[in-house]
């Protein structure tokens, strides 16, 4: 009985090169041909769609046709390539052919063969960042090729301490993933955490770095991003120098940064390119915008449902007159409008950009005015919701915008249930959740908790660079000192 469930032993496959080539031949784009006329006859096999045919014709075939070789070693010596491999390891041969190598045999029945890398490297041109556009600062963004991306980073950090560890992840996609860090600065514990989690990954397809971000997150059920993804190479270089770990994936135009603290979700990298007063003001505005965006509609609902005594008389008049003809309770009114905004946003995101703009205008002006005219919503709430939607776009990290979008709804429902108290309860749960979160094992809410006064220099506020002589504490870097503060802050006397 038991033996029925046991796997049948695999049939003795013809585990040799001939069988492999025969298997590949079943694909239409596999090329396998023989050159009998050349001084020494040889066989060439490759996937025509994976290799750069120009390399084959310009750099490989002419050399093979010129002279007579007696062995593969002779071929290896003659070919002008640095990574020519002679092997009989079937697994290696299989992987390499699928990654764009050309297989050369002197005889079709040989078990040993020669592999030459001739992969086709097609990548988009490096363009302007679109998600994290900034007026000042460099305007290069990552592309889908990991080689180009690594080049963009290395160019900015031409030091030997910048280390790259490579992984291949995904049983189907075989995605090349690189972990970047600076030796001597980055805490090795962080690097090990990342490497450990990457090598433990069990997933078949890694199509983008965002999938990795979800798979290796400390808490996979949290709404909050625990790794920041960025398309700016300058940001990557910046955080590497601070002591973070960066993950790049083939086929992804976004790098992942970790560990992060929640405060970094409010930092645009542009903050470092403008003066510190402006940067600080902008950060405070963003933090205000986020709290405003989450809280303002729930407060409206709570106050108008339960606590109208809270509002001073004069303001009350405005509110009452705007709500006089509305047949719906505040919560329904708010949910209808919130849903409208979400619909507009989602439609705008799904449509081609030109049509999307039109939808935005149609939705914003026509639906909004019509809803107020029809007496479905009050114009005060319309203003509030539009502002809240606008405010949620101020976060520099795109993912955080989505988080805010969703966070609002539990707050709204609790506000309808228990008024301001409901908001307080929702807030309590939010805080506990944030306290619990970690990013690569480092506390998420730092520098607020655990409180580290020193890290406030670059959190809510950005102090001038002369104050930033130490790296952020939450990264637990090996080398804390960025530059000597003593020299930087030397004060010269008058007229000296």
């Amino acid at each position: 009985m038991k033996m029925w469930f046991r796997k049948q032993p695999p049939e003795q496959q013809e585990n040799n090169l001939v069988a492999l080539i025969n298997m590949y031949k079943q694909s239409g784009d596999f090329v396998h041909f023989h050159h009998p006329q050349s001084p020494q006859p040889y066989w060439v096999s490759y996937f025509g769609t994976l290799i750069d045919v120009e390399i084959l014709h310009r750099d490989i075939l002419p050399f093979l046709n010129k002279t007579a070789f007696t062995s593969l070693d002779g071929v290896k010596a003659a070919l002008p390539f640095e990574d020519v491999l002679i092997t009989s390891d079937l697994q290696k041969i299989q992987d390499d052919i699928l990654q764009g190598s050309v297989l050369i045999q002197l005889d079709v029945k040989d078990a040993t063969c020669l592999l030459v890398r001739a992969e086709m490297k097609k990548a988009r041109e490096v363009t302007i960042p679109e998600e994290e556009y900034s007026v000042v600062g460099p305007k290069e963004a990552f592309v889908e090729s990991i080689t180009t991306n690594l080049n963009l980073v290395r160019k900015r950090l031409p030091i030997s301490e910048l280390k790259v560890k490579e992984f291949t992840i995904g049983t189907l996609s075989k995605t090349k993933v690189a972990v970047l860090y600076i030796d001597g600065i980055t805490n090795e514990e962080n690097v090990n955490t990342v490497c450990q989690r990457l090598s433990d990954l069990q997933f078949n397809q890694i199509l983008d770095s965002s999938i990795i971000a979800q798979l290796i997150a400390d808490n996979g059920h949290s709404l909050f991003p625990q790794l920041i993804d960025t398309e700016r190479p300058d940001r990557v270089a910046g955080v590497l120098a601070e002591g973070s770990v960066v993950i790049l994936a083939e086929g992804s135009s976004h790098a992942l940064i970790g560990p992060i603290s929640a405060m970094e979700l409010f930092n645009a990298f542009e903050d470092y390119y403008v003066n510190w007063q402006t940067a600080t003001a902008l950060r405070l505005i963003r933090i205000f915008a986020v709290s405003f965006s989450i809280l303002v509609t729930p407060i409206y609902v709570a106050v108008l449902t339960y606590h109208y005594q809270l509002i001073p008389k004069d303001l009350m008049v405005t509110l009452v007159s705007s709500r006089r003809n509305i047949p719906l309770p505040p919560i329904l009114e708010a949910i209808i409008l919130e849903l409208t905004i979400e619909l507009l946003r989602e439609a705008g995101a799904r449509l081609p950009s030109k049509v999307g703009q039109t939808i935005g205008i149609v939705g914003g002006i026509v639906i909004g005015t019509a809803a107020v005219d029809a007496g479905l919503t009050s114009n005060v709430l319309l203003i509030i919701i539009a502002l809240a939607a606008l405010a949620s776009f101020t976060t520099p990290v795109y993912r955080m915008g989505n988080t805010i979008r969703l966070l609002r709804f539990p707050f709204l429902l609790l506000a309808d249930l228990w008024g301001l108290l409901g908001i307080a309860v929702a807030f309590i749960f939010l805080i506990i959740h944030l306290l619990n979160l970690t990013s690569l094992g480092r506390p998420y809410l730092e520098p607020i908790y655990p409180p580290r006064l020193k890290d406030f220099k670059d959190s809510f506020i950005r102090f001038p660079f002369s104050f930033q002589s130490k790296r952020p504490g939450y990264l637990q870097t090996k080398d804390q000192i960025r530059f000597s503060k003593k020299k930087a802050s030397e004060v010269h006397d008058i007229d000296e």
Partner: protein, 363 residues
């Protein structure tokens, strides 16, 4: 015998400031003025000062015991009274902690029912609050401390609201100073020590502090902050209310908030009560953490299941306390025990503990 707590679960010594102050500063702040002023009249602020000093002494006593035994209340009890009597005493202490946590929870819900939602049912709100407590306590002591810290920092804006009523106060109310007999002052301490209670949980979380000996100054500092804050509130209350009227007000702090008016907010007490949800959360959390930790130590049970059981127990008791009368009786009863525990039992334990250590050194 002693379980060593891993380094990653420990908290910095200076956080003891927030643990002490956050635990003291709770629901009592909204109502403590009346009980003290009942006996001490307009000299109630002196009573606060004296109690503050007394609490400093008790904190010193606790540190002197804890530093000796390097453990918590349970190890102190075991080393002083032996295993069986020691554990029994610890259990009684934990029972008091549980009773107190229910008092805090029920008193807060009562305030909400009186000031915000007269029709609010006790059980759903208690359930949600206890759920949040479970979330915090099950995440461990570091998170409990975090909640404590944030609950001190976030609502700190409320300190401005204690200053506003000064505009409408007459400080002549405070005169003449020292108008009460020493006996009356001593009696008033009974009322004020309860608003200071909360520091005794140090006996439970002491082993979770990094270099616990160095945290003593922060504990004293925390108590100092509480004393000063109470002093401020007390003086403003005495100056703001007429003595006869103060006797009729159950929650003087909330009454004072009524006077605050901002361009966009009237009836500030509603915001005050709402903020208090954040203020009292860590108190309940740390109480349940201490109780479940203590039971875990005594009976070697899983803390998580103990916690669930305790929360259920508290939930049931909370729902059974229906009207103002019962709550008041229950509160008075717990307060009575608390008074003897803080001013009687802890000094007694201090003496016993030291005698025991002296005997052991000789023998």
């Amino acid at each position: 015998m002693k379980s060593v707590i891993k380094d990653q679960f420990l908290v910095s010594p200076f956080l003891v400031l927030f643990l002490i102050h956050g635990m003291q500063y709770g629901v009592g702040v909204l109502s403590f003025q009346r009980d003290i002023a009942k006996v001490a009249g307009h000299d109630a602020w002196i009573s606060i000062l004296i109690t503050g000093i007394l609490v400093h002494i008790i904190i010193w006593m606790m540190y002197s015991m804890l530093n000796k035994t390097k453990g918590d209340l349970i190890t102190i009890h075991q080393q002083t009274f032996g295993k069986w009597i020691g554990n029994l005493l610890s259990l009684l202490f934990i029972l008091y902690v549980l009773a107190e946590s229910t008092t805090v929870l029920r008193s807060y819900i009562e305030i909400v029912q009186v000031w915000m939602f007269p029709l609010l049912k006790t059980w759903p709100f208690a359930l949600v609050l206890l759920l949040s407590v479970y979330y915090v306590v099950s995440s461990g002591f570091r998170i409990v401390t975090g909640v404590c810290f944030l609950a001190v920092v976030l609502p700190s804006y409320l300190i401005f609201t204690y200053v506003v009523p000064i505009e409408f106060s007459t400080f002549r109310n405070l005169l003449p100073v020292f108008d009460h007999s020493i006996l009356e002052m001593a009696q008033s301490i009974k009322g004020s020590i309860l608003s200071f209670s909360g520091f005794e949980y140090l006996l439970f979380y002491y082993p979770f502090i990094k270099q616990p000996e160095s945290s003593q100054k922060w504990a004293h500092f925390g108590n100092l902050v509480t004393t000063l804050l109470y002093l401020l509130i007390m003086i403003v209350t005495l100056a703001f209310f007429d003595q006869a009227y103060l006797q009729k007000v159950i929650w003087p702090t909330l009454m004072m908030w009524k006077i605050i008016e901002l361009p966009f907010v009237e009836r500030f007490e509603i915001i005050g009560v709402t903020s208090w949800a954040v203020v009292m959360l860590p108190i309940i959390c740390l109480m349940f953490w201490s109780a479940s930790r203590g039971i875990k130590e005594i009976f070697k049970l899983k803390q998580r299941s103990v916690l669930v059981f305790l929360l259920l127990l508290s939930f049931i008791v909370c729902c059974l306390l229906i009207d103002r009368e019962t709550i008041q009786q229950y509160n008075t009863f717990v307060a009575e025990i608390g008074f003897y525990l803080l001013l009687g039992y802890i000094p007694f334990l201090f003496i016993c503990c030291h005698i025991r250590f002296k005997m052991r050194e000789k023998g």
